[in-house]
């Protein structure tokens, strides 16, 4: 496909990696906050090709992983109610709540449907007027317009049987939380390319300045990732802390203004609990007063939820880049993608799941890559 193959060119990727090798003179810790970028790095085996001075750490960039346990338990309780169809993006089905997941709710007779697009949930509501259709609206800023448009559409169509369980999270407050933490090791950021396609990157210069951290808006293909890393390393080596754009074919500084307008029409900022990290102020969005009728938390009385996280899980430290998955004693033993204990093993973009699936660290013998 055009705009894909060119950015997977092995020759070009190797060329940029060579340049990173030439540029780097000491160790640097660079974080990406985007599940899609974590996945891409692991799936292409990129981290092993980088010079050892560059350490990539993976931030809390997976909206599935950071959705609070309480919200997941609420979703499970709603899905189990008769006459409710819970709709969700595929990633969410495997997420364990305190005691079960959506798969087991489905097996017990609850109606749970995977949708590719949030608009399919609205269609389902139109086709099933006798059922309440609830959409589990998770996501970072990238997905916010998608989810918001469903409530706009439902309101315009006068639908009484559609509502959304909102779990929207925002990147800038997460950056503050990570960079402001006492033991922060992160020295440079790869900013999430598709978040920035929607929001632009006008929010980042104050953060870069406040903490003295360079940031480079980065895409997802191997060539995009090494370019973003190169630009970050060049800034680090010369002591700069600017915001640069390595994904200019999709991202502009102001972002997609129409999308931001939709976000501002439907949402307002709120505090959010990030699974594994805790409460980050103003780090989320919720439906504002004009759309509050469509808030599933208000529509369904699911009662007091007692959440229970596994005591063995160190997801919080992994999400902040303080520990690696193989630092965790439960990694690969008690905790695996089939039976995840916590946030980061849950979705295929969680750092633990990505390491488990792809990483050479699980090999006993280190063999060269030639086939």
């Amino acid at each position: 496909m055009k705009y894909q193959e060119e950015f997977r060119d092995a020759h070009l990727v190797q060329g940029v990696i060579q340049e990173i090798r030439r540029t780097v003179t000491r160790k640097w810790v660079i974080m990406e906050i985007c599940g899609g970028q974590t996945h891409s790095i692991m799936r292409y085996g990129l981290d092993e090709l980088l010079p050892p001075e560059v350490e990539l750490v993976h931030g809390p960039g997976c909206p599935v992983c950071v959705t609070s346990l309480e919200l997941i338990d609420k979703a499970l309780a709603i899905a189990a109610q008769p006459n409710v169809i819970l709709t969700s993006y595929g990633d969410m089905l495997r997420v364990p709540g305190s005691h079960r997941d959506l798969f087991s709710v489905r097996a017990a007779g609850g109606q749970v449907k995977v949708v590719y697009s949030s608009l399919d949930a609205v269609k389902l509501a139109q086709e099933n007027p006798d059922k309440q259709v609830v959409f589990f609206g998770i996501g970072f800023e990238t997905t916010a317009p998608n989810n918001a448009m469903t409530v706009m559409q439902a309101k315009a169509l006068g639908l009484k049987n559609y509502s959304m369980l909102v779990s929207q999270v925002r990147v800038p407050p997460a950056m503050h939380a990570i960079l402001g933490a006492p033991h922060n090791r992160v020295q440079g950021f790869l900013a999430a390319g598709h978040v920035c396609a929607v929001m632009g990157y006008w929010e980042y210069p104050p953060i870069a300045k406040q903490y003295g951290i360079p940031m480079v808006v980065t895409g997802f293909e191997p060539l995009d990732l090494v370019q973003g890393i190169l630009m970050t390393v060049r800034q680090l080596e010369t002591g700069r802390c600017d915001v640069e754009n390595a994904y200019s074919r999709v991202v502009s500084q102001q972002g997609n203004v129409a999308a931001q307008k939709i976000i501002n029409t439907v949402y307002e900022e709120c505090d959010r609990n990030w699974r594994g990290i805790g409460m980050i102020p103003n780090s989320g969005w919720r439906l504002n007063a004009a759309y509050a009728d469509f808030d599933a938390e208000k529509r369904f009385q699911v009662g007091h939820i007692q959440t229970q996280e596994s005591s063995a899980c160190i997801a919080g430290q992994i999400l902040q880049g303080l520990k690696k998955p193989f630092d965790c004693p439960a990694f690969g033993t008690l905790c695996s993608p089939e039976k995840p204990l916590g946030a980061t093993m849950v979705s295929s973009e969680g750092a633990c799941a990505a390491y488990y699936r792809y990483h050479r660290s699980r090999l006993t013998v280190d063999e060269p890559g030639a086939v």
């Binding site: 496909m1 899609g36 692991m42 090709l49 909206p63 191997p222 990483h359 086939v371």
Partner: protein, 360 residues
Amino acid sequence: MSNSPLPPTFEGPVCPLPLAHDEQIVIGHGSGGRMTHDLIRKVFLPRLAGDALRAGNDFARLGLPTDAALRGRLAISTDSHIVTPLFFPGGDIGRLAICGTVNDVSMSGATPLYITAGFILEEGLPVAELERVVASMRTAADEAGVQIVAGDTKVVEKGKADRLFINTAGVGWISQERAIGGEQARPGDVVLVSGTLGDHGIAVLAARGELGFETGVESDVAPLNGLIANVLRAAPNTHVLRDPTRGGLATTLNEIAGQSSVSIWLDEKAIPVQPAVQAACEMLGFDPLYVANEGKLIVIAPAEEAGAALAAMRAHPYGANAAQVGTVRASDPGRVLVKTLIGGTRILDMLAGEMLPRIC
């Protein structure tokens, strides 16, 4: 004097509304009585009949090849088929059922000979659809050169089955000493595939319509015994034959690596995938290496016979896009690894659970 009519004759209780029930399967079709016999006579026999079925027994008396008394072994396999929708681009549940079992039996190096087919029909299934499925089974069986020799039909109430389930069992004959199996892969062996991966899974997913995408991709469902025979003629010391069905190439190679206690190393850029299958997988966040195939073959052969095996596949209609995709090593037993497009390495694990579209 009265001309009273003759008393009616009774053979037993009859349906007060003797509708023909020609168009839809109803519970009575599974009763074992007249309606069942009618169904067999009208739908199954015309399409499937050979001597064994026409004899009308509950068993088939079958012969084995004439050298059976001297040497050789039976291969036997069974499978159940529950695919939705029943008809999809490139095939249907009937073709899938026959090819699936023919292929399973053939993976031992056996010549497949006889197939049985058991049907579980849901009340309300249109008979016309059943007829189409059965006709397709006959076509597939003829192509594979096997006979359908025994069958069974049951009907369940509406809601108790997803329209139609088929179970098949197949019997074949391994006429010479062959050591072919998942445990036979050896370090130094070469891994070949017979063509493009992921076609069937994507075709069926598109046909289901739940994810809303359209594509011209067709299922690759096909009987592979002819292709296998050609490969074994060219490469008689082939170690492993397997078809990467559910779970895709990744899962199947993991099984083999585990059985043989070896590692398998793949070269990502050598693996053939149709552009449309690649595009569908990109859109959904799927990996084509995990998507099901129903007409593809994995061959693991000693290096010195790999070239001949590959040429034999490419010369056959079902192996036109055959390619060498990897090698077998002694280190890290049980692991499958991939050299990625950009020269990195990643582990290729078995498929954990259901593949789901993702947003991350």
